[in-house]
């Protein structure tokens, strides 16, 4: 039977499952080596969504309520590419974030910072034919968490992407340049390689910035590509 094996080298960019400084990995990380499972058509395909899946207004998180949210209005844009440098068009990006005060609308977030009646903090959009996406939102605030004494998360936006197939599925976080909390954050630092960590920091861009309206940030995202090696494998049943 022919099966597909995807090259694994690039996956070293990801954080290991066990990052003891991030305490909830301790009971949730596998204690044994992962099993390499050959891929089938199931993994080299993945959900595809047309433009009917997404409403254009969902990409503007500042216009989802009667009024405008408080905070620093920002534009976040970039391109989604694969490892071979090709744009990934028509792929769904879902984003979620805290408000400008560092509070999530989530019912379980009990941080005593104010909620904003004009901000949910959830958005989605599709990349265009060049792989480009664009969101308008407010800059999220830093917030405390209980990982360790005086623990604070650097300001970040969560992103979820699909890409070409289920192999390229990615959930990650985008950070902002110059955040003083980087050295203290076990989640950011769970990525072993400094260069890989820096790929999660967006770049301020004056050309994206709109005069008298909003600061602009660029954040490109690279997903797994389409390369896979077919291999013959004995039937295991």
């Amino acid at each position: 039977m022919t099966r597909l094996i995807y090259p694994l080298d690039g996956l070293k960019a990801h954080p290991p499952s066990l990052s003891p400084a991030y305490t909830s990995t301790v009971r949730r990380a596998p204690s044994k080596p992962l099993i390499l499972l050959p891929h089938s058509l199931t993994e080299v395909t993945g959900p595809v969504y047309g433009h009917d899946s997404v409403v254009p207004s969902e990409a503007d998180l500042t216009r989802q309520h009667a009024g405008e949210p408080l905070g620093e209005r920002i534009i976040v844009t970039g391109r989604v590419l694969d490892e071979e440098g090709r744009p990934v068009p028509d792929t769904l990006i879902e984003v979620w974030q805290a408000n400008a005060a560092g509070r999530y609308i989530h019912v379980k977030d009990q941080h005593p910072a104010p909620l904003d009646a004009n901000f949910t903090g959830a958005g989605r959009c599709l990349t265009d034919s060049d792989g480009r996406y664009r969101f308008v939102t407010v800059k999220p605030g830093a917030y405390p968490w209980r990982n360790h004494h005086n623990a604070w998360r650097p300001a970040h936006i969560h992103l979820s992407l699909f890409g070409h197939s289920f192999l390229s599925r990615l959930v990650t976080q985008m950070y902002f340049p110059g955040d003083p909390l980087f050295p203290f954050d076990p989640i950011f630092n769970s990525i072993p390689d400094g260069a890989a960590r820096n790929r999660l920091i967006s770049r301020f861009d004056l050309s994206v910035t709109e005069p008298e309206w909003a600061l602009g940030y660029q954040f490109d995202i690279v997903l797994r590509g389409r390369q896979a090696t077919p291999m013959e494998e004995p039937h295991d049943d």
Partner: protein, 173 residues
Amino acid sequence: MMTEPLPPAHELTPSQTVGPFFHFMLTPKAYGVREIFMADLTQEGPGGDRLRIEGRVLDADGAPIPDAMVEIWQADANGAYAHPASPKPAVNGFRGFGRCPTDAHGAFAFDTIMPGIVPTFPSSCHADLFCRPRRPCRRPGSSTGAARPARHAPGSRRCEGPLGVHHPPWRRR
């Protein structure tokens, strides 16, 4: 398989935890946000044998993980995916993708249909688990392993929880 020369490699964007607060975007029904992915794939109107997949996500102590999310991706009853790489098109309207958060007991459930056999490939139902702090764990089950659908393979992670599709014996190859 790629045959043409490739442009210079771009380095992958690392993953980060999905965190505990994803629900208001990824499974947002309770937050008044338009929901586009559900745990009931039968609403898309596919033909085929009904299938219900239930499971729990547990940590190393066997404690429920209440803030995880499971996604499934599968072919329709004829073994076709709603994807350009599929050798044949999926039945109209069936996307074959579902998403379900775990509840306070770590439990999740999908209502779907039995995926058909895919030509030249083992039929399978693909599942990804997302849970703080983990990035996706992949859990393909295959028809060849359907009687033991990759659910407790040696070294498997308890954090993945049991999930698999049991093909009836007459469907197995």
